[in-house]
């Protein structure tokens, strides 16, 4: 993410000049998730249930795979208020989870891009 100054414009130019091998922003992966893997990929597990999220009044945008950690953090925040500094661990935990989610999205994008390049190459040849 520190290379945003080089890779953001690069993405833009690649998308403009080579749209066939550059996925757009927030692309939904089009290939079979199992493509190119030797074994079976681990499935992502959602820990917080719908009822929990609803009773915690989580906004829809926060109901992702880190929701249980957010609920933990919010609970701690409420219990320890106003000494919320003690929820540092919960917060750190949640933000790390979001970071991993971000990295996973980057990986998905890169996988999509490489598979596009591969199919494009085979189609041309």
């Amino acid at each position: 993410m520190g290379t945003a100054f080089s890779n953001l414009p690069e993405n833009g130019f690649n998308r403009y000049f080579h749209p066939e091998v550059t996925p757009g922003p927030s692309v939904k992966p089009t290939f079979d998730p199992a493509d190119g893997f030797q074994g079976k990929r681990k499935e992502r597990v959602m820990i917080a249930t719908e009822e929990e999220m609803r009773s915690a009044k989580l906004p829809l945008k926060d109901r992702d795979y880190c929701a249980h950690k957010l609920i933990q953090y919010r609970t701690c925040y409420r219990d320890k208020f106003p000494f919320v500094v003690r929820c540092g661990h919960e917060k750190h935990d949640y933000l790390n989870c979001q970071y991993d989610d971000f990295v996973l999205r980057m990986k998905e994008y890169e996988r999509e891009r490489r598979l596009l390049v591969k199919t494009h190459r085979t189609n041309v040849m």
Binding site: A4, N7, L8, P9, N11, G12, F13, R15, Y16, P23, G24, P25, S26, V27, K28, P29, P33, F37, Q38, G39, K40, R41, K42, E43, R44, M46, R63, D64, Y65, D101, F102, L104, R105, M106, K107, E108, Y109, E110, E112, R113
Partner: protein, 153 residues
């Protein structure tokens, strides 16, 4: 005088006399304003209300010499000096009519238009080149949809 300036802000002596039509009136005005007879030139009698007040050359406050020992250095004026009828337009904190610009005004306009046009050109060229993070769609758990990590079982 304090009463006049505080309560009424004005008295009849502040107003100029009517426009001088005869030579006597003209001489009276010259005597009143203490100007050189050759330099006395009243405003035109076009209803602007300046009467016999002399039409002085405009010298902005900024253009007056700051090192001259003025009687009132803060306004750069001498005691009893005639002030321009529109002095409040050309005081030091107002418009400087005799300014000598470092960059001529035409060049300034050109610079502004040039910068704006340059930016607009860049904007037009990059209109279809949108920068974005290389990120796939954010994954939300939904019924009937499966998401995977990059680890193997």
């Amino acid at each position: 005088m304090i009463y006049v300036s505080v309560r009424n802000h004005w008295n009849k002596d502040y107003a100029p006399a009517p426009f001088p039509k005869t030579q006597e009136e003209r001489l009276a005005a010259i005597e009143k304003y203490q100007v050189m007879p050759s330099q006395y030139k009243p405003y035109e009698d076009d209803g602007s209300g300046c009467g016999d007040y002399p039409n002085l050359p405009i010298v902005s406050g900024d253009a007056r010499d700051p090192f001259y020992p003025w009687d009132h250095p803060e306004t750069k004026r001498n005691f009893g000096e005639l002030i321009h009828a529109e002095e409040e337009m050309y005081a030091e904190h107002r418009y400087d009519i005799s300014a000598r610009l470092r960059v001529p005004i035409r060049l300034q306009v050109l610079q502004t238009v040039g910068v704006m046009l340059g930016l607009f050109t860049i904007y037009c060229c990059l209109e279809n080149v949108k920068f974005f993070h290389s990120l796939a769609e954010k994954q939300y758990p939904k019924p009937g949809e499966k998401h995977y990590t990059f680890e193997l079982e």
